[in-house]
Amino acid sequence: MKRELERYLRRATRGLYGTARKDVWNELEQDILERVRVSRAFGLSETQAVNRALEQLGDPREVSVGMAKTYVWPRAVKLSVLGAVGATLLLTLPSAAKSVLATTTPLSVQTGEVFVPEDTLLRALEQQGIGLSTHELRTDPRRAELLKLLPPEAQTQVVESDSAPYVFDDVPQTSLDYLVRVARSKNYPVQVAGWKALEVRVGAAQLVFNPYPGQSDFAVLYSERFFIQLAVASGLLTQGRNTPLQVPAREAERVRIVGTRLEWAGRVLVVGRLQNALPPEQTGYLVGTKRGQGLTLQAPRLDFSTRAVQVGPDGRFELIIPAGPVGQLSGLLPPVRVGTTGQPELEDTQGLYFGLYNETAFGQFGEFTDLPPTLLPSVLEPGKTYTL
């Protein structure tokens, strides 16, 4: 019960901070417990009662988005009106372009997604020789393909590509994730660097995002779509979050997962790259954590038949999965977030997420150390075989 409950509450309060988050968390938790108690009195098992309570509460995203309108968005607007210094997020560009954005930076945060006024951004990029049009930005053909892949309930939350991706305060906004994908489709070099202050470089243009003053939780900045950007900028093409994919083993009898170990926020995470499983232009990732003596690759929607991994002398490991008669892996890719509460873990039964939560205690977010721009490979211990 506790696990399901916490998962729901974590999702419902995503994007909130401090006392606001704790406040909403407690209220929802009390409601759930009362609903559970009533259902139990009618003879439901605890599991049934919890499931019923969570179903009655509805989609946790509805709560988080509603609360963001109350707490996060007004703050973003207020800060942007006050001026650039100390704003929720600062967007700066070098040289001439800097002045363009320094005066108009009404950026907003929407529970994990960062949006930029598209006209402002496009003008600034143009000054750096990055020629993207509004039309191109809005009509990336892959966007339409992506939408088709999303489950029906998710599609209703996505604005179609022939209109602005998002309108906030009457200003069309562009998701940086989207910008990065379009820029890449136009063969502009894209880089992502920084940790406490995220830097996104498109050609010569440099976008620097600073956190809230005093903010130590970067989950919002780096989770969900933002982490996809990291992956994209690392040379990976992703298709967006929560995208169901059937992953056939393409022209290979076996699927290889080649992985490296990361030290991240004091945790050991293992990122495995799928080979022979995706089209050449795509790269899928699996995420695991090291627990106890063994290495656990947690991928609830993936069906492994191999339970061992060889670690080479360079620390890279390779997990080989026979393609088998089915010949495919089924999962939700890319993995974009891992919630870590005590132990790093994959959260959300709807898919694999890979991200940054380091909630050492409720409401207490750990400091994240600077992370190099790419997913720097740390290593597993050479020469060892880890049993899964």
Binding site: N26, E27, E29, R35, R37, Q56, V63
Partner: protein
């Protein structure tokens, strides 16, 4: 008949303030009151209610007090109308009454009824 979510959305503040005019309540109790008093017509979920409660509180229409929880854990958060909220409720009631009067003057309700 199923509730039209747009009608609820447009009048959510009025409905919440009206329920709370009966006395302080916590979120789930408000939902229960709305259901029981309307025969289940208003089936509001937490996802809609809590953002409204927090917004109304931030606007000074509601204030909160904490009471021990009957199910254990953190204290329950009760909402109640402030003086400003009471005035706002009266204003909204008048506005809604005028709207209903105008609708009746147009014969919309009668037409719907006679169409059955």
């Amino acid at each position: 008949m199923a509730m039209d979510p747009n009608l609820l959305k447009g009048n959510l503040d009025l409905i919440v303030l009206s329920v709370l005019s009966e006395g302080p309540m916590y979120g789930l109790r408000i939902i229960g009151e709305m259901q029981s008093r309307t025969g289940g017509y208003f089936d509001l979920r937490e996802g809609s209610l809590y953002p409204a409660l927090h917004r109304l509180t931030a606007a000074g229409m509601l204030e909160v007090e904490y009471q021990p929880s009957s199910v254990g854990g953190a204290p329950r958060k009760f909402y109640r109308l402030t003086e400003e909220g009471t005035h706002e409720l009266e204003r909204k009631r008048r506005a809604f009454g005028e709207f209903v009067g105008a609708v009746q003057a147009l014969g919309i309700v009668q037409k719907l009824g006679s169409a059955k």
